[in-house]
Symmetry: D2
Subunit: 264 residues, 4 copies
């Protein structure tokens, strides 16, 4: 791959197509080991969870710095555009960087995006110079509005955050990919197993972002490595053009069996 | 439908395409009411469960006679061809009829057919003049052998008996239907809801047989009626030729979105 | 059912849970016959397609009046809130009624709702006293906003209009049903076969609306009757509480097969 | 992995869990390159297709020898136990080895196994000292009989040979795995993309065998590498214990929405 498979997000060149969250690992050491095993280059960090000033927060930042990956701060836990904007601004101060994974949560059970607050915050933050990575639904019209608002990357969900269900709506993910061939699309949330990640990469998605599927696996480090390989396999497969499936249920020759005189 | 939609099983003309089992109802009265609500014309009865000579058995036969439907005795619980053959012979004595639903169970958990014992028993019973309704898997080669053994009806499973899962292998059921256009095919076992029954009727199956989905529903009588309507709806739909689904995920016009210079 | 299964939409009492569109039938006579065969009580009519003043339009209205069903005018073809509002107002004049099926299309290929224009138009029309039936996506947050805007019925899609794919996102439809137990929910668009209609009724949806699956079937009248039965079957099944499916793949007893000394 | 993940087939220790077929590659050179890119250690070869004595056959054997992988001869194209046994014996002479992938085809369209001929041939060949790798269906009872016949490995299909459909019956594959925890199980036939391979490895299958998905891909070498990574990812994931998926469609708190007095 390498030179043959260029990939950038907001002009940053990348080799790995896996992004990892940093929440709910058994320990900081396991988090660090998992990130290394996955070969991922970007981790996302909740600013609210890891408050910058506290001692716990400091040691967490120290750890992330040590791993040597790029940090994509997120606005997890924000319920309004206003909250999300404030959190993003704080993140810029803390990290001295303008990347932000934008989450505006609209519903407590499914943790689904509030697409109204999302677009509002995306527009405001883009205007302030942020590079916005919006966590969004699979709605095509919303996607178009996020691009209009200044986003150059889209991150549709596969399923609710932390559900591990895999892709709830393959049709919608295919439609997004087909309608925005020139936009980097990252599936964010809901993947539970490497087979899910391979499937979305085979559809032509540019990358995947996940957290729980690794951090809550029996062995997070081995699972991180599995996802790293899976994403590479899926990308290779997409570029290598898979065979077209054939039905084969229909007989090619006159049918077996005999008609019975009196039967439908 | 009626005259426009003839249907026979071993030369017996039928209007209803639903067959019901008689096991595990809350009470005999509910069983009788469910059978009437479903408009089914054939019920299957386990000879082993309802031993002909006992008092409980007698009252059960009385009930079935009263409902006025045709009885299809079955060999449920038999594990070998020999057992199944003996049970079928006993059934012929009890019911003075030569129809038999042939079950030879090969595995305790999934209650799947033992296709080896099944073919052996089918051949022996057909030679003795029985009209055999074999409970079989979705294996095409097995189906061909059952026809060779003398069966004029096939009853492939959708899923394990009592599981209520619906169709486990839609490909295999479609292949069976396509390969044996002239043979009455009845899906037997595994359906859990009327939507499952409609789906197999839409595929072109001639009828469905079920038990647990009705007898263990919250309201068996209402569920029996629901299945009766469902089977009729599915048959009508099959004959009326459903529209062909369209994908629609691909854009018909040049794609939305803009390519970014540096992006895959 | 009847008395035992009350059902109202904006205080109008109804018996049938099937609503039909009126577009693309082979002939007006077949449309009329299909509506009667389905037993549906509400048909939806595109104001744009059947312009009130023209001669063709007049004969179409005459036909609808003759069938004796309630008309739900729709704003099909509208691309903005403004257009949809103007069309709804025209519909009120033509039909002297305040029911409106609100469509604001956001994308040409999938004909998906533009949820932004939809909410804006729903709010404006509700304020003017319209009874709004919004054609929407399966987004929970959008649903909540439509209720806030004054809608007392929601009509989420199953799949793109005219696709006949059935349910693209069963998770989302289940979530909508679970989150809005007191709101009449009608699946509108994308159903292609009666099995699809039964499945959404089994989930607890209150009704279904469809058009192409009937009008483009090989035999629209028979298909209309099939859908009428299907919707009834699905409703009955929902009320009768289906059995809980069981997996049954796992062995209940110590496993068959023998471990080989040297094997994983 | 390595020492932590031992894997043997008939006592032969292996590292790669991918087996490749050798048919229908664009050229011998591409076949050789694909095998190397996949890191597979076993290739299966049709004795009928590559007749040992002919010049073309000789150059093919030369190529395989050069690649340095183990050859698993197969009986592709055989329709009866007798034919398959004769072909296996010829293979033993040609390759001076006792491994045989046993195929007895029972149906021309789906190329499904004839489980009757298969068991007969498996028993005869095992008695002659062959190490039999039977290409079989997903039937549990057939599986038990193959073990009784002397097989120490089972190779159930996912879908018809060359179809690329992926897993037609996930329930049956899970049941096989659960019932035979100590038997090496290799999914053989029907996989079309790396996501399919990962999924069966995640179920706990020991290995996968495929041909068309690689040889007919746009770029067979890249696809071979993708499958190699996929199989490793799936194995790692299985050992690392994936998270348990959560539904999340049901609200955890009292439901949103308001009941309307007159509504179901």
């Amino acid at each position: 791959m390498g030179a043959a498979d260029p990939f950038t997000l907001y002009h940053a060149p990348l080799r790995s197509r896996l992004l990892l969250g940093t929440a709910r690992y058994p320990s900081p050491a396991i988090l660090a080991e998992a990130v290394r095993a996955s070969a991922c280059e970007i981790v996302t960090v909740s600013l609210r969870r890891e408050a910058g000033g506290s001692r716990a927060g400091e040691s967490f930042w120290g750890l992330i710095r040590e791993i040597g990956v790029r940090v994509l701060p997120n606005t997890a836990g924000c319920r309004t555009a206003r909250e999300a904007i404030a959190t993003a601004q704080m993140a810029r101060d803390v990290f001295e960087a303008d990347w932000i994974k934008l989450e505006v949560i609209g519903e407590e059970d499914t943790l689904q995006p509030d697409v109204f607050g999302l677009i509002e915050a995306a527009r405001a933050l883009s205007a302030e110079g942020f590079k916005v990575f919006p966590y969004t639904t699979d709605d095509l019209v919303v996607a178009e509005k996020l691009l209009d608002a200044g986003c150059e990357v889209l991150m549709p969900w596969a399923a609710p955050i932390g559900s591990g269900r895999g892709v709830n709506n393959a049709f919608a993910l295919r439609a997004l990919r087909a309608h925005f061939p020139g936009v980097p699309l990252i599936v964010d949330a809901g993947l539970g197993a490497p087979s899910h990640a391979v499937a979305v990469m085979e559809m032509g998605y540019d990358a995947v972002l996940l957290n729980t599927a690794v951090s809550r696996a029996g062995d997070p480090v081995a699972m991180a490595r599995a996802f790293g390989l899976a994403v590479e396999a899926g990308r290779l497969a997409h570029l290598a053009k898979p065979m077209t499936p054939r039905d084969m249920a229909e007989p090619s020759t006159p049918a077996l069996g005999r008609p019975f005189g009196d039967v439908a």
